[in-house]
């Protein structure tokens, strides 16, 4: 009996634990207790993941640059995040004399709150979501959108030109890329017919043979996935879209004038936003907590969710280690002249897919349309001035 039930038990271990804790309380309080436990889980797990990720990022970047990365604090530098945390906590909190004190203080708080709220709807495992909302996807993007205001608040209240430039850049960039971000998820919504994230995952949890039914394995799903990835990178201000904090241009952008723990809050918020957007990408396109092969379903679902998120994080780090930064106008051009039109075409293709019915034909048609669009738009749109590799002449 235990042999058959063991995977399921491990899978649902956190749920069981929550119920077990909750049953000590009167029944009226049980839902609240369960919610509080879930919140505690999110608040402890994701910042913990943040600490690990910062270390991994520094190590990974180091290895890409043929360095060791941090390896002084503890074995293999494992305590580096702890040291960083202590440093951030003990540093003096400098507020510029002319800064708008209240707004300056509120900005990191609001940002962090908004970012944390996004995790509420993420299904991190089977039955493991804090809120199962009908409009969960919308909630997620609403929380993402409200973080923009705090970015503006931070930049404006610092009374620093670099901060203001950074905030303007950040807000403009986030608004521009929010459109393709929403539209690409609309593609998934069209395929699923639901805005509820657990429903979206369940729609992808089936298998043909051993292969999963993830949306990334359909033509328009794949295209949407790529576009979502681009938009997500821009939305989280990661390289190559890290203009708002491009240190070679505008020092640190909107959080130039923050120090100590407030700076750490911006830092945490940036990484948490990265996790949440990776989580939503996983949920929308990579089957959320569903195992990649049918025979791997014995492994707990939450493991798969975090494994997929970490894959995303690795790609983020990888891109950061490789790519230089775009310029503001190129960034905008890229969003409005390439990503957005391509996503719209993708949306139409999704409609075609829905109406063509089963069969190999719709695969061919949809793929061809998308590839053609990609080629045409890659060659023409996007930039005003064409660029190409050059050859050089030599003087004797």
């Amino acid at each position: 009996m235990s042999g058959t039930n063991l995977p399921a038990t491990v899978d649902q271990i956190f749920i069981t634990f929550t119920h077990w804790v909750a049953h000590f309380f009167p029944s009226a309080f049980q839902p609240i207790v369960a919610d509080v436990l879930g919140v505690i889980g999110i608040i402890s797990v994701f910042p913990g993941l943040f600490a690990i990720t910062v270390l991994l990022e520094r190590k990974g970047l180091g290895r890409m640059q043929n360095r060791y990365g941090p390896n002084r604090v503890g074995p293999w530098g494992l305590f580096q995040p702890v040291a960083d945390g202590i440093k951030a906590l003990t540093k003096e909190d400098v507020v510029p004399f002319h800064a708008d004190n209240v707004v300056h203080f509120l900005a990191p708080l609001i940002l962090l709150t908004a970012v944390f709220m996004g995790f509420a709807v993420l299904p991190v495992g089977h039955h493991m979501e804090l809120m199962n909302m009908d409009a969960g996807l919308l909630f997620f993007f609403a929380m993402g959108a409200s973080s923009e205001l705090s970015v503006f608040m931070a930049g404006w209240s610092s009374r620093n030109k670099y901060s203001l430039l950074g905030a303007m850049r950040a807000v403009a960039q986030m608004i521009s890329y929010e459109v393709p971000l929403l539209l690409t998820s609309v593609i998934v919504v069209m395929l699923t017919g639901s805005l509820s994230l657990p429903r979206i995952v369940e729609a992808q949890a089936g298998y043909s043979g051993i292969l999963p039914h993830w949306y990334v394995f359909t033509p328009m799903g794949f295209a949407a996935f790529i576009m979502f990835g681009i938009a997500a990178t821009a939305e989280t201000n990661r390289s190559p879209f890290d203009l708002p904090e491009g240190e070679s241009e505008i020092i640190a952008g909107y959080f130039t004038e923050y120090s100590g723990f407030k700076f750490a809050m911006f830092f945490i918020a940036e990484y948490l936003a990265m996790f949440s957007i990776s989580g939503i990408a996983t949920t929308l396109f990579l089957g959320g907590w569903a195992a990649p092969f049918s025979f791997l379903t014995v492994v707990p679902s939450w493991f798969w969710f975090f494994a997929k998120v970490m894959c995303f994080i690795f790609v983020f780090i990888w891109m950061r280690g490789t790519l230089p930064r775009l310029r503001q106008d190129q960034l905008m051009n890229f969003a409005w002249k390439f990503v957005l039109p391509f996503t719209l075409v993708d949306l139409v293709v999704t409609g075609i897919w829905r109406f063509m019915g089963e069969g190999i034909l719709r695969w061919i048609v949809c793929s061809l349309i998308l590839i053609a669009t990609y080629l045409i738009m890659g060659r023409t749109g996007m930039v005003r001035k064409p660029f190409a590799p050059r050859s050089y002449r030599y003087a004797e």
């Binding site: 290895r63 043929n66 360095r67 060791y68 390896n71 990888w318 490789t322 790519l323 080629l375 190409a388």
Partner: protein, 227 residues
């Protein structure tokens, strides 16, 4: 235009990422306090004073000619010349520095002092860990801290030290031969002037060091007097 270049670049970093785990050659970082690379023979950090023999003060080759003090570009050497003369390692009476300080916080390790020294008395050390919490006193090295034995010099710059030693030995031999010749000449002179008074015989020992003087390699013409 279609992202090939980006993918190419990403593959390159991926290759480096994986490569750094398999080939040690890619990681050129030296983990300093634990790992230390042997410094090359020519390495130079700060100057030190060479002494011959077991005792540092009498053995100092430096004769306080103050050329290095004058030539030092950042002017970080401070020398006080002695009023009296003491015999050096070879037994010859020489001036010596009563003070020889080098402010290594000013020193720029240029080796000019080594090049201009006519006596091979100052050489470059390889010791570089001078960190101290006493910014002024701790980095002002006096002659006792600066004095290092010739054996130490051989240890850190073997090839160069051998060259210097052979040259010095040759010079000393030449000087000794000259002195001997001079002494013999003087003795002959004395023998010839045997008839002369005993006064002349008493002068001979004094003449010997006088004859030695030109044998010393290129004494400073203006260096000592000008400083």
């Amino acid at each position: 235009m279609l992202g090939e270049g980006i993918i190419k670049g990403m593959l390159e970093t991926a290759r480096n990422f994986a490569g750094s785990y398999v080939s040690k050659e890619r990681l050129i970082t030296v983990q300093y306090p634990e790992e230390r690379e042997a410094l090359p023979e020519n390495a130079r950090v700060f100057p030190f004073l060479v002494y011959d023999g077991p005792e540092w003060l009498p053995g100092l080759r430096c004769v306080a000619c103050q050329i290095c003090e004058k030539e030092c570009p950042p002017k970080c050497i401070y020398i006080d010349k002695s009023a009296d003369k003491k015999p050096d390692a070879a037994g010859k009476p020489q001036n010596y520095p009563t003070r020889f300080d080098i402010d290594v916080s000013v020193c720029m390790s240029c080796q000019i002092c080594v090049e201009v020294c006519p006596f091979d008395a100052i050489k470059m050390d390889k010791q570089f860990e001078y960190s101290t919490d006493d910014r002024f006193g701790g980095l002002l090295l006096d002659r006792e801290k600066l004095a290092k034995s010739n054996e130490y010099y051989h240890q850190i710059h073997p090839v160069e030290a051998n060259e210097v030693d052979t040259r010095l030995a040759e010079e000393r031999a030449a000087a000794a031969a000259k002195a001997k010749a001079a002494a013999e000449a003087a003795a002959a002179k004395a023998a010839a002037a045997k008839a002369a008074a005993e006064k002349a015989a008493a002068e001979t020992p004094a003449a010997a060091p006088a004859a030695e003087k030109p044998a010393a390699p290129k004494p400073p013409t203006s260096g000592g007097g000008g400083a």
